[in-house]
């Protein structure tokens, strides 16, 4: 931390010519460094543990307690009646979900879980609203597809020189 005296004269007067040169030299110094940009569509970041992407649902573990629907802040989860099932089951509107992960925290049976899938594209708004059975199917499909992605997978690390670097994952 800066101490008190230093703060009192923290704004030394500058020499306009030298300060300009110094700014340009700093710019040139950083020109020669590697950029910290993640080349996204070609590379994909391996997300940290418990990263909160698309919420995946396992129909078979669900006990129909509806706690997830009660806690969901934007009401992205609604309870449905499924023909041939005595209990009510949750359906999911991915368009409303804010990925807070609270539903996965309150689910007493781990029927809900977070997944690293965060960039799935849906063509129509209506196709983002899943009833319980559809949710179970799309969850399975997304997780399987995600595991099979052909993009170069990298892991983000803090780097002392350039801020962030991306290490390939085997």
């Amino acid at each position: 931390m800066t101490n008190k005296e230093e703060r009192d004269n923290h704004r030394p007067s500058i020499n306009p010519v030298l300060a300009h040169l110094e700014a340009i030299a700093t710019g040139i110094k950083w020109l020669t460094r590697k950029p910290m940009t993640l080349m996204y569509p070609d590379m994909e970041e391996k997300k940290p543990e418990y990263f909160r992407g698309f919420i995946i649902f396992n129909y078979n573990k669900c006990i129909g307690c509806s706690l997830c629907a009660q806690i969901c802040p934007p009401r992205a989860i609604h309870m449905y009646r499924v023909p041939g099932d005595k209990r009510i089951r949750p359906g999911y509107d991915a368009g409303r979900c804010i990925h807070c992960g609270l539903c996965t925290d309150i689910c007493p049976t781990d029927a809900l879980d977070v997944s690293p899938v965060h960039d799935e594209v849906f063509e129509q708004i209506g196709s983002m609203d899943f009833d319980p059975v559809e949710w179970h199917i799309i969850s399975k499909k997304l997780v399987e597809e995600h595991a099979k992605r052909k993009r170069k997978l990298v892991i983000t690390r803090v780097d002392e020189e350039v801020g962030l670097r991306y290490e390939p994952v085997e």
Partner: protein, 394 residues
Amino acid sequence: MIGRELGQRDGYRVVELYIGPQHPASGHMRLVVYLDGDIIVRVDPDIGYVHRTMEKLSEIREYVRVISLIERMTIIDSCNITLPFVEAVEKLLGIEAPPRAKYLRTILCEINRISSHLYGLGIGGIFLNHSTMFMWGFGDREVFVHLASLLTGARLTHTYNIFGGVRRDLPQGFKDEFLKAKRYMLRKLKDYDKMFFNNPVIRGRLENVGVLPKDKAIAYGITGPNLRASGVRYDARLLGYAAYSELDFEPVVGKYGDGLERVWVRLREIEMSLDLIEQALKQLPDGPIFHERYAKMVPPAMKKWFEKGRVKLPGGYVRLRPRKGEIFSRGEMGHGEVTYYLVSDGGMMPYRLRIVTPSARNAIMFSILPPGNTLMDLPAIYGSMDYFPPEADR
């Protein structure tokens, strides 16, 4: 920009100029500027374009659902803005977060503060057409967003503080990542000084521009770095909420109160926050991260998650009923001090939640700083204020 001639004032022709609501740098607000030649005679900030009725919406949501609502006021600073609310409800519930949770909250708060300052500096840079500062601010912010996503699992809207603790424990390897980030940032801040703070162009644009004297800053209730830049030693963290009472820090206080000083305070506060996180990581106590009253109620099969550093919530958590009462709480955000006034009628939802955000308090600066300066200085003043419209409008 739309301008029209307004007529005569003291023998001079006055022009009325509309800037916004879509404007080139950040935010959604409009400034109505009255000009005499090139000199600003009056500015009327027209705010409210992103008003989302946060206070009203929180009255129809259970307490736990309010957390993820109010963090949307300032998503770049979401831990700082939810913490005072969470602490207020905890007081009404009669619980206190375990020490480890308090430290973790502090760590995330400071990470958020750094990213908020870098965001503000970047926006301030692009206001002055200094694109390097814009790129650097936003690039380096990514380092801290990455640290936050390691800790919480989300980049911006963490929903990390919950009543009774936090949702995730410190992940393995976080400390090393942070120390690397600290060394990187301290070195980079020297370059910030060379590239931005001591850059003759920036000096020319910001020095002695938009001077806010100490007495005016106090009289108008300005808050945060803008207040400290005017020489007032006030920082809500000194009240010692979360773990701040156990950490050693001295708020950064400037003295000149001009635009450059506000930038300087932010740059030095980044250093201070880095230091605070290191202290907190060093002193981090062991123990639970969630209050045992709720941890006890979690179904036995789910207890395994606590060992893996992840909190599970009990079923009754949605229907929390804090006792009847009124409570006032405050906290220091990146932009300044946020205050909550919570009235509970003993029900499942707040009866009334009054929120005063720092940007709402700082918006008055648009009226008091620019008059007397030239039109060219207006973006410089705006940029140096770190004003965040969605936060002000709530």
